[in-house]
């Protein structure tokens, strides 16, 4: 009986808070599921929506699909009557019809991570071309401007991979004596990337460095397991790889930040626009930072970013200064408003 009363009281409280919280309803659309970066993005969105106190309901459409599927999700979110949609676009051009419908319905649309070309949408993204350029330039300088590198790209045919390819090519053009001996698409899959590097090590063709598009810690694993001599490796700021930069003896490497927490920043931008605070430019770029373990300063930055409770596939940079207000615990808990 007592439990029943408690439950009833809890229920009443829940109802009361639901009616008092005069908040927005925000929709989220994402098309890659089961990838550490995207999971962090979703968790950042949930955490930011929760701590903002302005969001009553967060509707998350989060699955593996193509652009047509994302159009379906956006239309479903319009049907759900949300005030704003924060999405990670599958493609910059393909979603325009659905985004236009949303904007016509008075919905604020914010694209995070990658841009969209639809008129009236806001974009908040990591600068992907710069991401690849920074890491590639560090690697080529580390090799003294001369040598053979393995180029492990992301998923073929995605716009993030294409932007990174632009940046990588830009750096490559600056170093005439750097050769790409092997170019593969990891599909941003850990197991696939590891098998690919194993296969190449087994060929015995010499190489001096590896650039990866974020499938990084398994590459280090492959060197350690096969006993091949370590070469400089460039990866992203995934927790597992950053820990390796600190702990693995003899590993020279650099991690380029590509925070998945731009998702949380996207929620903040959407809330600001809903509150009447419209940014001057429709595009806001988050610039990447490079952390390397070959200098004292770099090692300090890496040490400061460590947190043992982070998922090893998550990016270590869990927040975007000036944009996200949640704590490390909030994002790890990954709970949305009312959850």
């Amino acid at each position: 009986m007592r439990q029943l009363t408690l439950t009833a009281a809890g229920f009443a409280l829940g109802l009361a808070s639901a009616t008092f919280a005069e908040g927005y309803s925000i929709g989220v659309s994402n098309t890659v599921q089961g990838n550490g970066w995207r999971e962090q993005m979703i968790c950042a969105m949930r955490a930011q929506a929760r701590v903002s106190g302005e969001v009553e309901k967060l509707v998350v459409a989060h699955r593996n699909t193509d652009a047509a599927g994302q159009i379906e999700d956006i239309r479903n979110l319009i049907e759900a009557g949300v005030d704003a949609i924060v999405l990670n676009p599958a493609n910059p051009d393909a979603l325009n019809s659905a985004i236009k419908d949303a904007i016509d319905a008075g919905i604020v649309v914010v694209a995070v991570d990658q841009g969209v070309t639809a008129e009236g949408a806001y974009i908040l993204s990591n600068n992907q071309s710069e991401y690849a350029y920074l890491g590639a330039r560090w690697l080529f300088e580390r090799l003294g401007g001369k040598g053979d590198v393995i180029y492990m790209r992301g998923a073929a045919g995605t716009s993030a991979d294409n932007d990174r390819h632009d940046g990588f090519s830009r750096a490559l053009a600056e170093f005439a004596d750097i050769q790409v001996v092997h170019e593969v698409f990891t599909g941003w899959q850990q197991d696939q990337g590891k098998q690919q590097i194993f296969d190449f090590i087994a060929t015995g063709i010499p190489f001096d460095g590896v650039w990866t598009s974020g499938i990084d810690n398994v590459i280090v694993d492959a060197f350690l397991e096969s006993g091949a001599p370590l070469v400089p490796i460039v990866g992203a700021d995934n927790a597992g790889f950053v820990a390796m930069l600190q702990d693995v003896e003899g590993l020279q490497g650099a991690a380029v930040t590509n925070p998945g927490s731009v998702g949380g920043a996207g929620i903040t931008l959407a809330l600001r626009i809903l509150g009447g605070d419209v940014p001057e430019s429709r595009t806001v770029l988050v610039e990447p930072v490079l952390w390397e373990n070959t200098s004292e300063d770099g090692r300090e930055m890496i040490a400061a970013a460590q947190n043992p409770s982070l998922d090893p596939e998550w990016p270590v940079s869990v927040s975007v200064p000036g944009w996200t207000t949640y704590s490390m615990d909030d994002i790890i808990a990954c709970e949305g408003p009312g959850g």
Binding site: Q33, K57, L58, V59, V60, A61, H62, R63, N64, T65, D66, A67, A68, G69, I71, E72, D73, R75, N76, L77, I78, E79, A80, G81, N91, D93, A94, L95, N96, S97, A155, A156, G157, T158, S159, D161, N162
Partner: protein, 318 residues
């Protein structure tokens, strides 16, 4: 009349389920109306063509795992060719794309028949082949589509029938124009005969090999329509295949087509496509945890097919 009902029991049941789900959707979201149905139909379009393709091959007793890849090939073909084409030549491109689909289907079917390797193995291999071909044609999403094609799937018919989505008319028209004449012809009879018992069909004088190739070619044609519909919806071509393979198998099973072949039609699977899309919409409206939605989708499918199976068994015993 009772015979008609008995023959179409599964489709009637599915239609009733769809109507009930539409009612529930209206309860969850009172504003759900014409625009909601229009979005739903547009979302269902590529799934409907993929499902039609899969259904034809399953009816003939095979399975085609390369449907999504063929859609990708035809989608990028159309998008690349249309990028620089005027309105006039875009019509030609559309027909050329359909031919590409038929050609790919014919290759699939011929390989299955000539090599005598099981359908599932050949089409699994072709899944990768067509996927690679799509990436060769277009490395990254791009291209363009003629405006009249994009307009063909947006909005309603206009006037008093504005509540009828154009996408629905397009879907029903394309599938009927291809399938109804085939089903009523000798080829249709051969397809069903081959699917229900290949040896018996052969002994009755059906050209089994040619029939199977023809069924795969028809599937290729539907895939081309699916690929075109994808570019019509997005305005570009995408070389990476979407989630249409498993979704089409699901809709075919839910639509009452026996996986062994020889039984079922295209109407049931198409209604099933709408049911599956509507469930996704309902789960979004209810803000269900996205990691749970796929479980719910799968569970609903198993339950419906199970209940259907039990009812059929009961009906036979009586």
């Amino acid at each position: 009349m009772t015979r008609w009902i008995g023959k179409h029991a599964w489709n009637i049941g599915l239609a009733a389920l769809l109507a009930a789900l539409l009612g529930v959707t209206k309860l969850i979201q009172p504003e759900f109306g014409v625009s909601g149905v229009e979005s739903l139909t547009r979302a269902a379009l590529p799934f409907a063509f993929a499902t039609a393709a899969m259904a034809v091959v399953v009816i003939v007793g095979g399975i085609d795992l390369s449907v999504a890849s063929m859609m990708a090939v035809t989608g990028v073909t159309a998008a690349v060719l249309m990028q620089h084409a005027g309105d006039g030549s875009s019509v030609a491109v559309t027909f050329l794309t359909l031919l590409v689909g038929v050609a790919m289907g014919t290759v699939n079917g011929s390989l299955v028949v000539l090599t005598k390797v099981p359908d599932i193995v050949v089409t699994l291999a072709m899944l990768f082949v067509w996927e690679g071909v799509a990436l060769l044609i277009l490395e990254a999403p791009g291209g363009a589509v003629a405006d009249w094609l994009m307009a063909a799937v947006v909005g309603g018919l206009g006037g008093v029938v504005d509540w009828v989505p154009r996408a629905l008319i397009l879907m029903v028209f394309c599938i009927s124009v291809v399938w109804v004449p085939i089903k009523r012809s000798r080829l249709g009879l051969s397809i069903y005969a081959t699917g229900s018992d290949r040896a018996a069909a052969f002994r009755s004088g059906v050209a089994v090999g040619r029939t199977r190739v023809a069924a795969y070619a028809v599937a290729g044609l539907f895939c081309a329509l699916g690929g075109l519909s994808l570019t019509m919806i997005t305005g570009i071509g995408e070389p990476v295949p979407g989630p249409y393979l498993l979704a089409s198998v699901a809709a075919v099973v839910l639509g009452g087509v026996t996986l062994g072949g020889g039984r079922g039609g295209l109407l049931g699977p198409i209604i099933a496509v709408f049911i599956l899309r509507l469930i996704r919409l309902m789960l979004t409206l209810m803000a269900v945890d996205p990691n749970v939605t796929t479980i719910v989708e799968g569970a609903i499918m198993v339950i419906v097919v199970m209940i259907g199976g039990l009812l059929t068994l009961k009906g036979r015993r009586r």
